[in-house]
Symmetry: C2
Subunit: 373 residues, 2 copies
Amino acid sequence: MSLNFEILSADTSGGRLGRLATPHGEVLTPMFMPVGTRASVKGMPPFLLKEAGATILLSNTFHLGLRPGSGLIRDLGGVHRFMGWEGPILTDSGGFQVFSLKGLRRVNEEGIAFRSPVDGAEIFLSPERSVEIQEELGVDVAMALDELVPGDAPRAAMAAAMERTTRWARRCQAAKQRKETALFGIVQGGMEEDLRTRSAADLTSLDLQGYAAGGFSVGEKKETFRRMAAFTAALLPQEKPRYLMGVGTPLDLVDASGWGYDLFDCVLPTRNARNGSLFTSRGTVSIKNAEHVRDETPLDATCPCWGCRHISRAYLNHLYRADDPTGLVLNTLHNLPFYLGLMARIRNAIGDGTLPELREEMAGAYEKAEGGA
Amino acid sequence: MSLNFEILSADTSGGRLGRLATPHGEVLTPMFMPVGTRASVKGMPPFLLKEAGATILLSNTFHLGLRPGSGLIRDLGGVHRFMGWEGPILTDSGGFQVFSLKGLRRVNEEGIAFRSPVDGAEIFLSPERSVEIQEELGVDVAMALDELVPGDAPRAAMAAAMERTTRWARRCQAAKQRKETALFGIVQGGMEEDLRTRSAADLTSLDLQGYAAGGFSVGEKKETFRRMAAFTAALLPQEKPRYLMGVGTPLDLVDASGWGYDLFDCVLPTRNARNGSLFTSRGTVSIKNAEHVRDETPLDATCPCWGCRHISRAYLNHLYRADDPTGLVLNTLHNLPFYLGLMARIRNAIGDGTLPELREEMAGAYEKAEGGA
């Protein structure tokens, strides 16, 4: 087996503390995966990622397949060696990125044809090719190619895409060649409980190594997301890792860990760092705001990151206004430890049965800000 | 005294090994100062600068005076605290940056009027104001405001600017208020030996804490630079620190250390890192070149930096092409240790009397590339 998942303890809510053993080391779950789209978390060499508390990364089949190409990375010894990251790596299948190309793609049963945004070349991504790219990269966890539809698509389109996603998962499973690759299937079905139920049942029958909930963060209401993501978690096998894709805010991570999800990824901590939007124990701080120009206090006095121990909001504001890359580095070195430290607190809270208290604390800092989302 | 300079040993060539004690710690000389224009070496938080071997930084009066303003930095406790760098900081006077504004400035005996490139405001930089800004920043070494003229200016203009620079140095000395501030004068006089001689003699009579050679890297031939920079070093007091401004290449640093200079600054290691031009024991490597796309070798197998121990030229090439800021960080984390490691080798070579052998080694790697400069 490429993957070994062990549940160490579970709380009454459904949250569980787990250990995921991969060919590149172990990960305690629930865990957040920083996003390293092009085999790099922007501005963060792996030794800084390690210091920030990262133990597993997400990278992108779509981007790496286009540039520098998965064959090149295979020839150079795989993506871990390429980027100098020794821990586990999970890649998405490319489905979400191709979905985002909108007018530039055509989908049929065979796969997805699209024009390369790099050089305009016509590219065909089939389930088999998606797995092949991910195996060339040599990742620990490959995601099966899924078909996405817009959040407001009619039910029939949702159902068709969900069914195709299951057929594609079967083809991915048949295409997989390396025993070191774990393949996860992606549950789709929009916001329809019966479609999600069928998707989960059909994928579970394939006995894949893990399961993800996809199709969220596509414009649905927050309450709908909460209801459907919790509903979907309960459909997935207890004994296998569950991955909630593209989620989320600090509060989402607490909630979804309580629903029984084990893995998360999201661009929020890294992209927001670059935009000057910083996570603190008291909510989000937009460091570019004029109120910080002369503010000599640390960003977050409770945070152990280098910046919070050594420099002020005024300095971060100055770096942001000067468009100085040191700002990007310091901001990311704050936001990532915030997320990864939150995951450690979530794991402790599951162990202690205190997840509701942690939820209350995070809601105090973040619920108001998220209310409209 | 704000500054204590002790010569530990000298070799027969004129090179000397020294120790510069400042209010923010000691610096072994000869030493290279990384350039942190806006109170930041781009992409390098201070803890990484320390790891790279930096012991003293240069920052810019001109840039910090404009944004965020020296009064703000004073109110926040000075530039060391502002940027979280505990070691010594030297600032240039702003003369060179204002000189670069060309059409936007007017110089008279009182000072330099120019339009702010930030907001178009009319600004007046006098010798007194330059010192005031540097004392508001709270730097360890302030540079006296100098007047620069183009490298091809007629001799009369060179002489007039040199004489004004001396008068301005006297005004800077009179304006200085903090005993913690060391003030260095700047020898000018173009490529004319008699003007340089008079400049050095007049400034020496002011008994400043250190002396710099300015007016180089303004388009002069390499041989002219070498002759005049060596000539100027010999004009300066033995017992005080000598700073060769804006220089230079690895070979320049070896040569100028042999001429008796103690301090250097240059944008080359940091700016070139951002442009993908990397210093190695075998000469410069342009990492963006197609030859590196599939190159699995390290940038420099003899280099102890994280990148050279963990990732390949192919990965650095990928990061450069993807315009990923991790490339900027890794490249700077290579170039700076190369420069600072070279300074350590220079200091050892002065102690051992082996500077000629080090010069020969560097010439083998770099002279060809510098031939046309």
